[in-house]
Amino acid sequence: MPQVAPWLIYTLIALVSFGIAGLLQKLSTDRVSAESAVIWLVVGFVILEPLVYPGSALRHYSNRSIAFVLLAGILNAAGTWTVLAAMRNGGKASVVVPMTAVYPMVVCVIAPLVLHEPITLVQGAGIACGLGAIFLLAS
């Protein structure tokens, strides 16, 4: 029997986990408010904190980088709140999850201004597909 590479197993676990998470978002907001769902979701995240605690290494990072990642966390929580609110307000999981997954489209538009990275042809095609997807999913 051929041996499956560990990275592939981990990748598939990630794929399925994120997919199930989308379903759980809908199941939870069918029963509780988006605000309540965010609170308990963060509790679920916090439970895993000991597994990724970096220890004293934290002291070696610059305040600037730490501030960026903390800000990323705040925006992640805000985005999670609004995706849960979308589902709470009648959005279907099968529509909201693909629609919100095209967020890299906005990154590609902003990146030239903030990161001074030009938009490649492939990314341009991605933006066009993303806009088309939002239009069709909203129909």
Binding site: W7, G22, E35, V46, L51, A86, V107
Partner: protein
């Protein structure tokens, strides 16, 4: 066309659009911070960044009034399983997985949600919306390359 216009009047559509913008900001700040901070520590700090919003929401009346146990369990599981997914993703990169292959494969999660929503929640989509899911998938793959 008519139906798209009516979607523009729904709250779920605009919440989804705000999510797209919020997560874009998340990805940008994460990129800026990850130039120095490795993935594990980044996940630790990101969660720390999520806590203040959860604390603020504790004062929300709708959140405090929640007593539905199943809803709470689903929400907790949502957090835990998302965390598990992120940890698995980090492990995949560390175990020698090709970055592009791992990124593209894991970013296809909306297809898993889509399939589960059809089977478990019995959601029904129009042909246009199914085409939208396909286009979103193509878009996601292109961004992961």
């Amino acid at each position: 066309m008519q139906t798209t216009e009516s979607a523009l009047k729904t709250r779920w559509f605009w919440y989804s659009i705000v999510t797209v913008i919020g997560w874009a900001g998340w990805a940008l700040f994460l990129k800026l911070g990850s130039e120095e901070i490795p993935s594990d520590a980044s996940l630790f700090l990101q969660t720390a960044g999520m806590v203040p919003l959860a604390l603020v929401l504790l004062f929300n009346r709708a959140a405090r009034g929640t007593k539905d146990k199943k809803g709470i369990v689903y929400s907790l599981l949502n957090g835990a399983i998302t965390g598990l997914g992120i940890l698995s993703l980090l492990a995949a990169y560390r175990s020698g997985g090709n970055t592009a292959v791992v990124s593209v494969t894991s970013s296809l999660y909306p297809l898993v949600t889509f399939a589960l929503a059809l089977v478990v929640l019995h959601e029904k989509l129009t042909k246009k919306q199914i085409l939208g899911v396909v286009l979103a998938t193509v878009s996601i793959v292109l961004f992961s390359l």
